[in-house]
């Protein structure tokens, strides 16, 4: 046949397109934010992985970065932000506080944001190095690439 053609699977193309166009919503509450800024800026450059476009409305974002400690007082806000994001959406817990509450095992802090919203990738560290953040992002991209279209509706 002249000109040739390639074959692929639709889900593969969809995953490929999604994983390289992550619009992120940074939900930053604490000192991990400095490390997030470092990761997002030119030296480490999240944009190399297609996640450079920061949105400041959750309605335009599809990757929620929860960066820092979340208190019980803040939990309804985080829940609202998550609910406002449109499908498909992914959540990264950035830093020990977001992962498990960290050192703040007390009356005021949520012991990990997965008690409020589903989390896709956990990045430990207090704060995590930018390299771990990039590693987490790449792991999320792998997950997105291999996700079946109906995964989210099965999950909840």
């Amino acid at each position: 046949m002249k000109g040739g053609f390639i074959t692929t699977r639709f889900e593969h193309v969809l995953g490929w397109a999604r994983k390289y166009s992550l619009f992120q919503y940074p939900f930053i509450t604490a000192c991990c934010g400095i490390e997030y800024m470092s990761t997002a800026c030119a030296h480490y450059d999240l944009d190399r992985f297609g996640a450079g476009l920061t949105r400041f409305s959750p309605r335009q974002a599809d990757m929620l970065l929860v960066v820092g400690t979340v208190t019980h007082k803040l939990a309804p806000v985080l829940k609202t932000v998550y609910d406002q994001m449109t499908e498909p959406k992914w959540v990264i817990a950035f830093g020990t506080c977001a992962v498990s509450g960290g050192i703040y095992n007390n009356y005021s802090c949520v012991q990990g944001i997965d008690r409020i919203i589903p989390v896709d990738i956990y990045i430990p560290g207090c704060p995590p190095r930018p390299e771990s953040v990039l590693d987490g992002l790449i792991k999320l991209q792998e997950k997105i690439q291999n996700q079946r279209p109906e995964w989210r509706w099965q999950k909840t």
Binding site: K73, A75, K79, Y107, S108, G112, D114, R115, I116, I117
Partner: protein, 161 residues
């Protein structure tokens, strides 16, 4: 200066004061709860000129057999000197006069102490919680607040295995 400060203070208020420390730069004086506002008003004016309320906090000393202790940190800018005032309050329904009319920052500091320790400040213009949310029960920095007690606002889901 230390002896001078204590002498001037006890000279003005012969009774009701208890000098706890006279170490230079670390003077501590206990004041009766009923005369706190009078003492503070006088300290803020001349001649001692303690115009600045650095901090206002509370200690739950009930495990030591006492009640709650209010601690006020004052600074005199013109004399470059500090003074700490303590007020011993009963363990049951502690209450003390508010200093919000004297120092503006006492307003929020007293709300914090009310929030964390449940000390009532009489005469406070807006005494409500400042850090914890509406509906929070108890006062978390009291020693008898359960260490593991949690009061989440959002119903917590079971995390993925």
């Amino acid at each position: 200066m230390a002896e001078d400060l204590i002498r001037v203070l006890t000279g003005r208020f012969p009774s009701g004061l208890e000098v706890l420390s006279t170490a230079p730069g670390d003077e501590v004086v206990a004041v009766g709860a009923d005369m706190l506002l009078d003492v503070m008003t006088w300290l803020k004016g001349q001649p001692l000129d303690y115009v600045m309320l650095l901090d206002l906090t509370c200690v739950d000393e009930r495990p030591l057999g006492r009640g709650f202790t209010m601690v006020y940190h004052l600074q005199s800018l013109s004399r470059n000197h500090r003074l700490r005032i303590k007020v011993f309050l009963p363990a049951e329904s502690p209450a003390v006069r508010s200093l919000a009319g004297l120092w503006k920052n006492a307003n929020w500091l007293e709300r914090e102490v009310y929030d964390m320790f449940g000390v009532a400040f009489t005469g406070h213009p807006d005494l409500r919680r400042i850090l914890m949310y509406d509906g929070f029960e108890g006062h978390p920095l009291r020693k008898d607040y359960p260490l593991r007690k949690r009061q989440p606002l959002v119903k917590e889901r079971i995390p993925d295995a």
